[in-house]
């Protein structure tokens, strides 16, 4: 081999040494989140599908819209029938997203062990903490944003359709411009979603911890221990603190009756998703941090086979 050829052969090695030891953390994190969305299209497909069905229903019901608008435009008459579909879409979008997030969390760290793809993921320079954080981002950040986007678009389409029908019938369109309609629904959802996501963070964290731990039937492992504790408490002390606490964690935001205006002074005890001072909320957040950390530790230390 000539000296030149030798040099040419050596050249890529010099480049190797210059190659960065690791890519910026945010870049790795970003692609890890994208990866989750590739695998779990339900995160956005399910809310979209539900919104589409709701829109079809609304379209079918649109023939009775002129009557409803007429009734709503009369002072002192019930406006509920006009507003209800908007709130319904927001509510159904929210519930769908929560359900998707629950099932996502339950499978997030189990699927990769079941199909052994964890051996592929672990052959790449991505830490277990980064992986778990990217998975936690789905229910905590991505899912609420998807919910908001889907509900905003769906209600906007409904509103535009209503406007067309109202104008075509030569009715007074002012009732559709009411503060209580589109702005109310959008604002309530935007204000409520961050709190709701944080409120359910310990649930997602618990499910991911179980997902990282259970070999199979993660669902049973997720619900049996809390129920068992509540059951033992009821038998031993004839009290129901655990049971009520579980109900609060599960249904807190839905027990809150303040969707329409609400009275001041609501607390997390009945689930006001905008009460940021509530200790219940922050106790839950601390629990969530512990659960996610536990999930990362389990993924790191468990043997992949």
């Amino acid at each position: 081999m000539t000296a030149e050829a030798e040099l040419a052969r050596e050249e890529p090695r010099a480049a190797d040494i210059a190659a960065p030891a690791a890519l910026p953390w945010l870049r790795v994190f970003y692609w890890s989140v994208r990866r989750e969305l590739w695998e779990h299209a339900a995160v956005y497909v399910a809310p979209l599908a539900v919104a589409a069905i709701a829109l079809i229903g609304f379209g079918i019901g649109a023939f009775s819209l002129p009557d409803i608008v007429l009734a709503a435009a009369t002072p002192g008459k019930e406006r509920g029938l006009l507003f209800a579909p908007y709130e319904f879409v927001a509510f159904v979008g929210l519930v769908t997203s929560l359900l998707v997030a629950v099932f996502y969390s339950l499978g997030a760290l189990q699927n990769e062990r079941r199909d052994r793809s964890i051996l592929f993921w672990k052959s790449l320079p991505v830490s277990d903490l980064t992986t778990v954080l990217s998975k936690a981002t789905i229910p905590l950040v991505v899912q609420p944003l998807v919910t908001l986007a889907v509900v905003v678009v769906a209600t906007a389409v409904m509103w535009a359709l209503s406007m067309l029908i109202v104008l075509a019938n030569g009715l007074d369109a002012r009732v559709l411009l009411s503060e209580d309609l589109i702005p109310f629904v959008w604002r309530t959802l935007a204000e409520g979603l961050p709190g709701i996501a944080l409120w359910y963070a310990p649930l997602y964290g618990w499910l991911m911890l179980v997902s990282a731990w259970a070999r199979r039937v993660a669902f049973l492992w997720a619900i049996a221990p809390p129920l068992l504790v509540a059951f033992v408490e009821a038998l031993a002390f004839h009290t129901s603190f655990v049971w009520r606490w579980l109900l609060l964690r599960m249904f807190g935001p839905f027990a809150f009756q303040g969707m329409r205006g609400g009275q001041p002074g609501h607390h997390w005890a009945n689930g006001d998703p905008t009460d940021w001072a509530s200790p219940h909320l922050w106790i839950g957040v601390m629990l969530a941090v512990a659960f996610f950390a536990g999930a990362a530790w389990l993924r790191r230390s468990r043997e992949p086979t």
Binding site: R34, S123, P125
Partner: protein, 289 residues
Amino acid sequence: MACIEARGLRKAYGATVALAGVDLTVEQGRIVGLIGPNGAGKSTALQAILGLIPHEGALTVLGRNAWAERDRLMAEVAFIADVAVLPRWLKVSQALDYMAGVHPRFDRAAAERFLDRTTIKRASRVRELSKGMVAQLHLALVMAVDARLLVLDEPTLGLDLVYRKQFYDSLLNDYFEHDRTIVISTHQVEEIQHILTDVVFLDRGRIVLDCSMEAFEARYLEVMVGPDQLAAARALGPIHERRVFGRGLLIFDGVPREQLAALGEVRTPSLADLFVAMMGPAPSAEAAA
């Protein structure tokens, strides 16, 4: 600095000892075959090297503690477990995007070139590909990583002969283009014998043979002898004997070639035959063919 340095590597699962104190040194640039029967501890050893399992004893891979620094180590190590580990939902294009997104030493263009030589479509999902195509895809991803150490655990399991041949050809071409160390474990010993520089036999968690291929060729000889020479050959202390078409096929350890040449045709035994000789039942227990 050695690429892999293990001292007293031990791993037990409950009462089952998978690795019973392994000392192993793999220098840079070698191609090491890790060969052993089922349950010998091959996969356990490879998983320890990859930082996937905790263990007892000292283990340094590329100067790092594999268990403590897995994610950083993986920037310089590429790994194929077996063909089944690519997730079935993954699209080929997504695999490329993701690798380029998270791996500092992934050369996307190289992976694309490799895929262009196959019939794999970018829009296909892994579940739509045949077994051989999945192996090709995985190989394309792994080969495009400029890894200093490549670990292959049964990489051709379940593939047909054509794919296995292609796989090792690609592997070897790539090896000569880069400066890397390769550790392979496989059952198909014959297929990798010609590409190895070193061979390690593992049995019940212990290393029973660890030598370079040159040393292997110098040390082990196989002689085919007729029935009349059989007694003389046996007197030299073969480590293994079997019958082929009425003639004896004997393997010797460290007996001079000239001495054996007088008895019959001398050649280097295949790794597979030596493997059977060392791992199989004792010669006396073996039935004549």
